[in-house]
């Protein structure tokens, strides 16, 4: 942990030290969450970005990479301020990151108005995929609805007839529920949208009691970051394991699992989720990423980390495609759209709205050879899936 802060500080210092208008470098501004309990996600992202830079020797073509990390504090207004600072003061070439949909929605215009590129390495709000799509916006993640849609599809296949749904009350939470509802053919017996943000609700006693009384067959949740661990804790304590099977998206991940293992919450073993990536994916890029991450940090990277790692590789492919000429905006745009790099999730393409068209897999929580809790792919739910807002985007 301390070393990460140091690395970040050194990187930041080099960034400031080497002067603003240095044509020999690519400047990347990275907006993520480094404080509040959500800092645990930011830490994983930071580790992965640093690992990516290490893997490429801090070079993209002939250019050095200058990374400037900024903390959005889990707040849209702060995220926008930091984005403005990156665009105006630091004059970066790419603004990357954004864990949270509401932060991305607040910040995006600052980047696109300055004719710079913005790459979401996580958030995928429906608005940005649809009406607010922009030629300079790209994504190494997904549109919010897609992952829960894949889960809905899986639930239909399993023959689950009724569900209780819980998610946080913010842009992504609403997208997730909408995505699930658009595909799931069974009955939704009840739904709770809980308070979210820096002071998010973490005690779900009232909601779990309602879920249990609803008579639903299974429970579907979306609780990213710290809230995920808290939810699973309470799910097990409430005795719902075995009564209401748990299906989740972005809740049970490499961030929650080590802590759940520490607390020995076996209720999570075998629980299923959908995702576009998993640490066990068998391709060279992923093996190198996961292997080196494990060796360096002693734990698995999360999907946030995988997407962040990809974001650096995507930028590298674009910078190299234009031969380091960062003024060639059209060239960069075309290269970003071509997705010509080895993604850790394997090959994918992007649609007219620049959202990835990719596979979604069903993952299960398993114990690996060394006794660590992790996730493993069970099956492919969607092949080359495109989000359902692409038609609302007027780009070709």
């Amino acid at each position: 942990m301390k070393r990460n802060i140091l690395t970040a500080a050194v990187l930041a210092a080099t960034a400031f030290g080497s002067g603003a208008a240095n044509a020999d470098s690519v400047k990347i501004g990275y907006v993520t969450t480094l404080t509040t309990p959500a800092a645990v996600i930011g830490e994983d992202i930071q580790n992965s970005v640093n690992l990516a830079l290490e893997h490429i020797g801090n070079k993209m073509g002939d250019l050095d990479v200058e990374l400037i990390m900024e903390d959005d504090g889990f707040k849209p207004d702060v995220g926008k301020q930091k984005t403005d600072k990156l665009v105006k003061q630091d004059d970066v070439d790419f603004v990357v990151g954004y864990i949270w949909s509401h932060v991305l929605l607040a910040s995006m215009k600052s980047v696109t108005d300055a004719d710079k590129f913005i790459i979401s390495a996580n958030a995928g709000p429906s608005q940005v995929a649809g009406k607010l799509c922009h030629p300079n916006f790209f994504s190494t993640s997904w549109q919010n609805d897609q992952t829960p849609m894949a889960m809905g599809e899986h639930l239909n296949q399993e023959g689950v007839k009724s569900l209780y749904v819980m998610a946080p009350n913010y842009a992504a939470g609403k997208d997730m529920v909408a995505g699930l509802e658009s595909v799931f053919t069974g009955e939704i017996k009840g739904k709770d949208l809980t308070k979210w943000g820096a002071d998010a609700q973490l005690d779900f006693s009232a909601e779990l009691a309602k879920a249990k009384a609803s008579g639903a067959e299974a429970i579907f949740v979306f609780y990213p970051g710290k809230a995920g661990g808290a939810f699973i804790n309470q799910y097990q304590q409430a005795g719902l394991r075995g009564v209401m099977p748990l299906y989740s998206v972005f809740t049970v991940d490499a961030i929650a699992l080590p802590k759940l293992q520490e607390a020995n919450l076996e209720g999570v073993l075998g629980s299923k989720m959908t995702q576009e990536w998993s640490p066990d994916m068998d391709n060279a890029a992923n093996k190198r990423f996961v292997g080196d991450y494990l060796a360096k940090h002693g734990k698995y990277p999360s999907f946030y980390g995988a997407q962040a790692y990809d974001s650096i590789m995507l930028i590298k492919s674009a910078v190299e495609a234009v031969g380091g000429n960062l003024d060639d905006k059209d060239g960069i745009r075309a290269a970003l759209k071509a997705v010509n790099y080895d993604s850790v999730r394997g090959k994918y393409t992007v649609g007219n709205n620049h959202m990835p068209i990719q596979n979604f897999y069903l993952r299960e929580v398993v114990i690996d050879d060394e006794g660590r809790w992790t996730t493993k792919i069970v099956s492919t739910v969607y092949e080359n899936h495109q989000d359902r807002y692409a038609a609302e985007c007027n780009m070709q």
């Binding site: 930011g42 949208l193 009232a206 909601e207």
Partner: protein, 307 residues
């Protein structure tokens, strides 16, 4: 009407109310007796959770975690009183707010430096991780333990405040501090003890909640606002007020989270009700405070003879 659900929700409300009481009891005493606004009271809540988690990780015993955690937070509370709060009693409230806000930042950063950003899960012994069945009613064992612990502490504080010499001084201090000082009571020592006991109560609340929500940086900063609401609704300086107000607010919060969408759905379409209900239930507590301040500004149970 699902009676099992109603009873479960009442128990959930009771549990939240008792946690709020633990936090608010110290806050109300410190506010009432020393006239000191301690925004960093929530930091004791966080520090307690981390102390307990560290001991549990080392020894594997939850009971030891609570005991050492209590002692640890008592010491931290005493140190804060001794080195910081004591110098500020004569300053005005704005200074209290500034200094204790700074303390929040210091505590948050210290925890980040010592334990890292990732928070801490506290494993419970298997006995506590299960459920208790009463007829058709199934309740999580651990939540019952929180209720029992909360009621136990309430009883302890009741005896302490109403039956002991220290309690007499505390009550006297809350009613009229100048008179207590004039009577020659060692007010410095009284303040130190009250402050440290208050900190321990907050720490205990943090230790009790952490196995449910995990310990994390800034965990006390959100709940402290509600704890201030409890203090104001109950009457500043009144432990009894903090008890009843904590229960009222815990129940209002839990019950509105449980039933408000159904109630709203009677008059407006269900999809609006589903979106409006979380927002309104988050406001309920503050609406209650506004009503109390409008009709009974001294709080529901002000200490006897309070000015």
């Amino acid at each position: 009407m699902d009676w099992n659900l109603l009873i479960t929700q009442l128990m959930n409300g009771l549990q939240l109310g008792l946690l709020l009481f633990l936090l608010a009891s110290g806050l109300t005493l410190i506010f009432g007796i020393m006239d000191f606004i301690n925004l960093s009271h929530g930091s004791f809540y966080m520090v307690g959770a981390y102390f307990c988690g560290t001991i549990v990780a080392k020894t594997g015993s939850f009971v030891l975690g609570i005991l050492f955690g209590l002692v640890g937070v008592f010491i931290v509370g005493a140190l804060v009183e001794w080195f910081i709060a004591r110098k500020l009693y004569r300053s005005d409230h704005l200074d209290h707010v500034l200094v204790t806000f700074g303390l929040i930042l210091i505590f948050d950063t210290l925890v980040h430096m010592i334990w890292g950003a990732s928070g801490m899960a506290i494993p419970l012994p298997d006995v506590l991780n299960g459920q208790v069945s009463i007829g058709t009613l199934v309740l999580p064992t651990y939540r019952l333990l929180i209720i029992a612990a909360g009621l136990g502490v309430a009883a302890f504080l009741y005896v302490l405040v109403t039956r002991t010499r220290l309690g007499m001084l505390i009550r006297a201090g809350a009613s009229n501090r100048t008179m207590v000082e004039a009577l020659g009571v060692n007010i410095n020592r009284l303040f130190l003890i009250v402050f440290a006991i208050g900190a321990s109560m907050a720490g205990l609340a943090g230790m009790l909640i952490a196995p449910i929500t995990e310990a994390s940086i800034g965990m006390g900063n959100d709940i402290i606002i509600i704890a201030f609401v409890v203090v104001i609704v109950g009457g500043i300086g009144s432990v009894k007020g903090a008890f009843y107000a904590g229960l009222i607010i815990g129940l209002i919060d839990t019950l509105s989270r449980s039933y408000l969408d159904d109630v709203l759905a009677l008059s407006i379409p269900i999809e609006y009700a589903e979106t409006a209900a979380p927002a309104i239930s988050a406001m309920m507590v503050y609406i209650l405070m506004a009503v109390v301040l409008a009709f009974r500004p001294q709080g529901l149970f002000p200490p006897a003879g309070a000015r």
